[in-house]
């Protein structure tokens, strides 16, 4: 009888077409301009680093699921996103090739899978890996070179600024500067950010609060706000890493607090710390505060009556 086959389940019986892998695909698309420009400025070495990072990220996730006898999750494309973002955080030199593989191992296995896989990790995998690498391989992670095929070593605009040397805004904006693969071109990152906003993958709250706080902080302490916005990893961090769903708050007020906190720490490190750059540390630190932010930003439900304490 036909009716024995009828499916009975709880409503609703309709789902929108948006899926986790679709969202990840949108993020990958948003990263394409930055990828293209990194290859343009740093030549084939950039392409190799990105490829190694993506392949190792996906492979580690695949192997982990295989060995842990878990359902395969690589099809949700989140490992690809982690791989690309991690690569964009590395300097465009040969040592980054094996560093990318180590980074993937840290990001995927330790930061993500051991915490329970996608959705359960406390820290953004790419950020945590970058911080790990920066601390562990300090010289390799700061061997910046100027754009071009000759690999002339060069300092980043922020490092130059620490010694009072300023970089031109046009170079900063286009990415014709020293720095990691992806944090050089503001233009490419902004295009990606606009794509994510248009596709409603992210909301404006975290990037605007983050970038705005950094700009305001720079202004208050008598520095060029625009320089601090364009230089270093701020745009990459604010648009692509601080907005990671899993490791940021879910409510808009929580997102604003999160972005504000990231901004304060970033500008604090940049202006008063020993390091030239503070974006990764700020995001990592704020990641840890997300459960706390979530707890204090529960929205008042519609028609909620004040409860007796």
């Amino acid at each position: 009888m036909a009716e024995n086959r009828l499916i009975v389940n709880s409503s609703p019986h309709m789902k929108c077409v948006k899926s986790t892998s679709g969202i990840m695909l949108d993020v990958i698309i948003a990263l394409i301009p930055a990828v293209i420009l990194s290859v343009y400025f740093f030549s084939y070495i950039a392409a190799i680093i990105i490829a190694v990072s993506v392949v190792t990220s996906v492979t580690f996730e695949y192997l982990y699921n295989l060995l842990a006898k878990k359902r395969q999750t690589i099809s949700n494309l989140s490992a690809v996103v982690t791989g690309v973002i991690l690569a964009l955080n590395l300097p465009p030199v040969k040592s980054s090739i094996w560093i990318a593989a180590v980074g993937s191992l840290i990001a995927i296995i330790i930061v993500k899978m051991l915490f329970g896989g996608i959705g359960k990790n406390i820290f953004n995998p790419a950020i945590a890996a970058r911080v790990f690498l920066t601390v562990s391989f300090a010289s390799q992670m700061t061997s910046w070179v100027a754009p071009g095929v000759d690999s002339v070593s060069a300092a980043t605009p922020l490092a130059l600024a620490k010694v009072g040397e300023m970089t031109g805004y046009m170079d900063l904006f286009l990415g014709n500067i020293g720095g990691s693969l992806g944090e050089t071109s503001a233009l490419a990152l902004l295009i990606g950010g606009i794509w994510l906003l248009l596709r409603k993958v992210i909301t404006w709250h975290i990037p605007v609060a983050f970038i705005g706080t950094v700009a305001l902080g720079a202004f208050i302490f008598g520095q060029e706000p625009l320089f601090h916005v364009l230089a270093g990893g701020l745009l990459l961090g604010a648009i692509f890493m601080a907005t990671d769903y899993v490791t940021s708050p879910t409510t808009w007020i929580g997102k604003l607090i999160f972005g504000f906190g990231c901004g304060i720490i970033t500008i604090g490190i940049r202006l008063f710390g020993n390091l030239p750059e503070g974006v990764s540390f700020s995001i990592l630190f704020m990641n840890a505060l997300v459960p706390l932010i979530d707890r204090y930003t529960v929205p008042k439900s519609f028609g909620e009556v004040k409860k007796n304490a």
Partner: protein, 436 residues
């Protein structure tokens, strides 16, 4: 006139109002109907007939002395073939009366227009008519229309939003019986002494808006408001907020903010009943979905089997994988097509395999889409976690009982989490704890 407030949250669902141009067809009397003793929210009725009794159209066959209940009448003339317990998909195990029709549709002599001179007469008439909220919930109308004395009601809201995809049965009522709607509204306003009325219609139904606006020009009391089409615009609390800006407190009722909300077909039925005295024995349903041969609006005798109704609409084009009573967002999946149509049913939908299969549930990525979609400003993803871990304290802290189960969160979830199902489980946890 414009809506007063935008609802919080909400989602854009496809409309699929395929049957909006389908004029109501009358389905011939089926051979057999089955009328369960519980259509409404409240106490089930006790059968007043037994096997072998002769009944006519409008004969009382079920009654209850409880206040929150509504009498039940035969929708056909014929013989009671059986009275037996039956398990319904909503979990109720109630008496069900099976009537073999003689095809003559002889009307019971007791059916005559009620004499209504005052509020008491009016409320009695509404109760006698067997009317329950026809929007889907099935709350007995005479209870809703009789708020306690201390609740001053100043707004009657007519719900013609019909925000569920596919369903057009209320829409057809506004087109085909607009004057009944208006006269029903006037009667309710007069007897209950309510000064203001607003008809809320989603803006995807321009015809309805035009009709009521034309009437509004001649009848100054009546206002029709075009509401932005977003789900769940027609949910009672959302509608009240959108039309009046008032917020029903959690656990409260519309009357707590001075409002009575009535479904448009319900109010129209009141006018019809006062004219004819024929109780609620027929209902218009939208029959649609990918495997229905001729999607249409059909008026059927209450108790008609889904199977017979689908056959009237040309049958299934292919094997159905899912059959719903109601819309795709809140409808109840049926385990058999031998289920009878109830008073408050407004649609029967039948889906093919592709529409019916549930996508696999994957890990929550905390995207927050459910939080933004929730019209009650809840945090579905948190409730899901607390429901799975059976954390009753947190479930209560996060207001699990406020969930109206509209399905917006599950709809938008990219990880395809079964959020509503999980929240329902959470509600049961909280309720059973309360009984301990």
């Amino acid at each position: 006139m414009k809506q007063k407030k935008r609802i919080k949250g909400g989602v854009k669902t496809p409309h699929y109002k395929n049957t909006s141009k389908s004029e109501t067809k009358l389905m011939p009397v089926p051979e057999k109907v089955e009328i369960p003793m519980l259509h409404h929210i409240g106490a089930p009725c006790t059968p007043t007939v037994k096997k072998g009794d002769e009944v006519m159209v409008g004969t009382l066959i079920g009654e209850s002395s409880a206040f929150v209940s509504a009498p039940i009448h035969s929708s056909v003339s014929g013989t009671v073939a059986d009275v037996k317990k039956r398990l319904f998909p909503n979990g109720a195990n109630v008496d069900s009366i099976i009537i073999k029709s003689d095809g003559k549709q002889t009307v019971d002599p007791s059916v005559k227009p009620p004499v209504v001179e005052n509020k008491e007469d009016f409320l009695k008439a509404v109760r006698d008519s067997g009317l329950v909220g026809l929007g889907g919930a099935g709350f007995p109308a005479h209870v809703k229309l009789n708020p306690p004395k201390d609740k001053k009601i100043d707004y009657l809201l007519i719900n013609a939003a019909e925000c569920e995809p596919y369903i057009t049965s209320d829409y057809r009522e506004t087109i085909e019986n607009s004057w009944n709607v208006i006269s029903g509204i006037n009667v309710v306003m007069d007897f209950l002494n309510i000064e203001n009325v607003i008809i809320g219609v989603e803006d995807n139904k321009p015809m309805t808006i035009k009709i009521f606006n034309d009437i509004a020009d001649t009848d100054k009391k009546i206002t029709a408001v075009s509401l932005k089409s977003e789900y769940p615009q027609g949910a009672e609390k959302m509608l009240i907020y959108a039309l009046t800006g008032r917020v029903v407190p959690a656990g409260g009722l519309p009357m707590d903010v001075g409002v009575i909300v009535m479904n448009v077909t319900s109010v129209s039925f009141i006018a019809k009943y006062l004219k004819t005295g024929m109780p609620l024995v027929k209902k218009r349903l939208t029959v649609d979905g990918a495997v229905i041969k001729e999607p249409s609006n059909v008026e059927v005798c209450i108790g008609t089997y889904i199977k017979d109704l689908v056959n009237f609409c040309g049958g299934f084009t292919e094997e159905p994988y899912k059959v719903l009573m109601g819309g795709p967002m809140m409808g109840l999946a049926q385990y058999t097509v031998d289920t009878p149509v109830l008073k408050q049913n407004n649609a029967i939908l039948a889906f093919n395999k592709k529409q019916s299969m549930l996508p696999e549930q994957t890990a929550c990525i905390r995207c927050g889409n459910c939080v933004r979609a929730c019209p009650m400003s809840l945090m579905p993803q948190q409730l899901d976690i607390f429901s799975e871990s059976q954390n009753i304290e947190q479930l209560q802290k996060f207001n699990v009982m406020s969930c109206i189960e509209c399905g917006a969160c599950s709809y938008v979830c990219p990880a395809k989490r079964h959020l509503v199902q999980s929240i329902r489980k959470g509600k049961v946890l909280v309720n059973t704890k309360g009984q301990k």
